[in-house]
C-alpha cells in the first residue's frame, strides 16, 4: 500500500525535469512517506529490538506511544474499579459469575496446554522422521534408541501379562483358602454341637442310673435289716442256748454289731 503510494510520486519526480531543488524536495518527501508507510504498517505492534532505541527513530516513537497508551488503559481500569465497587457486598453478588469465569478459564488453559503439547509432539515426530530419512550421523543413534524402546515395550507387555497371571493364581488360591476356612468352621460347629449333646445324654443317664441304683440299694438294705431282726427275734424267742452253737452265736452278735453301729 505504501509502496504503491510512493510510486506515482517517484514517477512524478522523474517526469518533471525542473530544477533539482524540486527533485530533492520530492525525493525527500518520497523517502519520508516510505518511512511513514512502513511505520504505519508496524504501528499495530511495534516489535522491540535493542537496536531501535535510537531516540529519533520512528519505531522508537511508536513504541513509546503504545506504551503510554497501555499505561493509560491500566490506570483507567484502576479508576473503573473504584467506580464499580459495591460497598455493601462486594463479592457475593459476583460469586456465580466468578466461579463460571474460573471454570471457563481452566478449560481454556487446559485446551491451550493440550494443543501445545500436541503441536510439540507433531514437531518432534516430524524432525525425527526427517532425520531418519536423511541418513545423518544421528540416524544410527535414533534407530538404536527406537529399537531399544520397542524392546523395552515388549518386555513391559510380557511382564505385565505374567503379573496378571500370577495375580489371578493368587486370587484362586485365596478363594480356595476361603472355602476351606468356611468348611472348617462349619465342621467345628457341628463337632461342638454333637459333643454337647453327648455330654448331656451321659449326665442324664448317670443321674438316672444312680437314682435307680440307690433305690434298689435302700430297698435291699431294708429287706436285709428286716430279715436279720426276724432271725434275732426267732432265736431269742425260741429260748435256745445260742452261745454254744457257733452259727447262732454269729448271727446274734452280728445283730448286736448292727445295733451298736
Amino acid at each position: 500500500m505504501a509502496a504503491a503510494g510512493s510510486e506515482p510520486l517517484g514517477e512524478a519526480a522523474d517526469c518533471s525535469a525542473e530544477n533539482t531543488v524540486d527533485m530533492d524536495v520530492f525525493q525527500k518527501l518520497n523517502t519520508a512517506s516510505q518511512k511513514l508507510g512502513q511505520a504505519v504498517k508496524i504501528n499495530y505492534w511495534t516489535p522491540a529490538d535493542p537496536t531501535s532505541n535510537n531516540e529519533e527513530s520512528y519505531k522508537y516513537m511508536f513504541r513509546l506511544k503504545q506504551q503510554l497508551a497501555k499505561q493509560c488503559e491500566d490506570m483507567k481500569i484502576r479508576l473503573k474499579i473504584d467506580e464499580d465497587y459495591n460497598f455493601l457486598n462486594p463479592v457475593s453478588e459476583a460469586k456465580p459469575d466468578i466461579t463460571e469465569a474460573l471454570t471457563e478459564l481452566e478449560t481454556a488453559k487446559n485446551q491451550h496446554q493440550k494443543t501445545t503439547l500436541a503441536l510439540h509432539r507433531a514437531q518432534v515426530a516430524c524432525t525425527i522422521s526427517e532425520k531418519v530419512v536423511k541418513e545423518d550421523k544421528q540416524t544410527e543413534s535414533i534407530k538404536e534408541t527406537v529399537n531399544h524402546t520397542l524392546r523395552l515395550y515388549s518386555q513391559i507387555l510380557n511382564l505385565q501379562e505374567e503379573g496378571n497371571k500370577l495375580r489371578s493364581q493368587v486370587q484362586e488360591v485365596r478363594k480356595k483358602r476361603l472355602t476351606l476356612k468356611k468348611d472348617a468352621l462349619m465342621n467345628m460347629v457341628e463337632i461342638r454341637k454333637v459333643s454337647k449333646m453327648k455330654e448331656k445324654k451321659v449326665q442324664s443317664m448317670k443321674s438316672e442310673v444312680l437314682k435307680q441304683g440307690q433305690e434298689y440299694l435302700e430297698k435291699y438294705l431294708n429287706i436285709a435289716d428286716l430279715t436279720e431282726n426276724v432271725f434275732q427275734g426267732l432265736i431269742l424267742g425260741s429260748n435256745v442256748n445260742w452261745a454254744t452253737d457257733p452259727h447262732l452265736r454269729e448271727i446274734v452278735l452280728q445283730l448286736e454289731k448292727n445295733f451298736s453301729a
Partner: protein, 188 residues
Amino acid sequence: MSVLNMFHKHPELNTASILLVETERQHQDKLAEAILAAQRSFNVNVHLADSLPLPTRNEANRPRIDLVVFIVNHFSSRSLELTKSYLQHLDVMYFLGRLCFLVNDARSAKSDPDKLHAVREMAAKYSSPLLFTELQTEQGLATAADRLLVFTKVSAGFVPGVSSLFLNTLTSCSHPMESSSNTLVDTD
C-alpha cells in the same frame, strides 16, 4: 499501615522497576545483576529489600514499582511466615498479575516436600505465578532474569493488548493436589 501503592506515581518513559524482596538477602544481588545484564529494549530499575513496608524516607525518590518478586527460602518456615506478613503491605492492584513468587533450588536433597507444598499453597491462594529457579548457576540466573523480564514487560504495560491480568491467568500457580502414596498395598 503503610501500603506500597501501584498507581500513586507516574510511570517513567520506557522504564520499568522491579522490587526483589528476600528475607535473607542471599540471591538478590546476583539476580539483580543478571536482570540488568539481560538483553532488553527498555530500562530497568531493580530495587532490593528485605522486608515490607519499605522505609518512608526514600518514598519520594522511589519510582513506580511495576513488579514485586518475593524470593522465598523454602528451607525455613520462618521465611514463609514473614513473606505472608509482608503481603499485607501491598496494594490490591499488585495481586492482579504484578506479583511473583520465586523459589530457589527446589531440586536439592535438603528440600522438604511439606514446606514446598506450603509455598505452593500460598502462591495458589494469591493466584500468583510461582517460579522455580536455580540461581546457583549462571545459566539459571540468566533464565530467571529472562522470565522476570517477561513479567515486567507485561505489568509495566510495554506489550499492547496483553494486560498483567491476562498473563496472570496463564501463569498463576494452581493448588497442589494431595499426592497419593505410590506404594503398592498388598491386600492380603
